[in-house]
Subunit: 170 residues, 3 copies
């Protein structure tokens, strides 16, 4: 085991702690969405945030337009209010599964991170659980008052078509 | 990186170690079930344990009844014996995928924890792998003789209907 | 929390660091495949590696034959070149989800490890994301020049049949 211990040095551990913090952030983020607490959603973002749900084809081609496009926390709040107070849609259960998380610390103080996600859905009139959306988070985090916040989150989905409509955030 | 290092303090690390222990517990737990070692299943529980598989609708409404309801380790043993020795069912492959794990240490010595799970299934006469059950573990752990044990595990599933029957534990 | 702190001792931490290193390896490995960087695929293996994709039924019976069978890094390179330069197949998006990772350090310097994986697929003429392959990695790692390398990776899949053909590695 000695060779292994040498391999796992302090530099490795510094990155590992940051990775764990990002994983923990994503657990809290997904729990809020899965439990329908959309008014808590904004607290994961900075004031000047960018939140986009877009197709992998567009992302790969460098095209910005997405299914959902929020510039700034006010648009996040607006979307949460719209969903909870005014939208009409069939009831459903959602659940996020986040794996393959990584971080890439940069010199500019931002933390570049990524992860793969699955969003499963159960509609009240279709009893099976389905893979509603599969993709990856492309994120930039910053530290604000000692806590991680999303300055940018791009949800890049592989699906060519989303069965039924996309109502809740990803 | 300095700001990040300050952020990752000792308190964070204490919780992180506990989280890793729970994740490791779940890996062992799922491996026993996926390999069909049901006689090992009981060793993950305390004598006075509670193990329930119930619908999300019932859980959210505070209703206790579930598909499977075991009070105490003897009922866990009984169920394992029933499945392995007396039940008739179509052969199948199962596999657990556990993500989004978190812990909430409490003052009373119990460790409240949770995670999202997917249970995939392959039936011998239907060659595709399907999402058999999607849900979350709602757990209470205690330490017994230096090892984590489940005092309570609730498997709260999102599916409204489980395709085919539920045979093995979750 | 005192009991918990005693429980999480140095021995636990040494294994935990190794586990994190394997998880990080798998994230990089899957990212290379998901992004189609197949020429990077070989760098994850030793010269004398073994890479096999085989059915769970064969694995359980101790039978070696698989869908894909590569002995040595040259066969890995050959396969990558074949896929990228000469094969004809329908375009598709793939994504790996790796969970339930564990390590079992051994006395011989090899690191035995395992994990569960899902490989999701989106075909350009079938818009939904599907569970293309579900299974587990059965791995043996070694340390080469301070980095983990796969001496053996067996991708043991549960599916009885893979929808459409298997083109890319797992």
């Amino acid at each position: 085991m000695m060779k292994v211990k040498e391999f796992i040095n302090d530099e490795y551990l510094a990155e590992d702690k940051l990775l764990r913090a990002v994983e923990s952030f994503n657990v809290d983020y997904c729990l809020a969405l899965d439990e329908g607490r959309l008014y808590d959603w904004e607290k994961f973002f900075t004031e000047d945030c960018l939140y986009i749900i877009l197709a992998r084809e567009n992302f790969d081609a460098g095209l910005p337009v997405g299914l959902v496009y929020c510039e700034g926390k006010a648009m996040i709040q607006d979307r949460a209010t719209t969903i909870l107070e005014t939208s009409m849609f069939a009831p459903r259960y959602l659940r996020h599964f986040v794996t393959n998380t990584f971080v890439r610390p940069s010199e500019d103080g931002e933390i570049h991170a990524g992860a793969n996600y699955q969003l499963t859905q159960v509609l009240m009139d279709k009893p099976a659980a389905t893979l509603h959306q599969v993709g990856r988070y492309v994120d930039r985090f910053v530290l604000e008052d000692g806590a991680l916040k999303l300055r940018e989150r791009r949800c890049v989905y592989d699906n060519l078509l989303l069965e039924n409509s996309l109502v809740y955030p990803v």
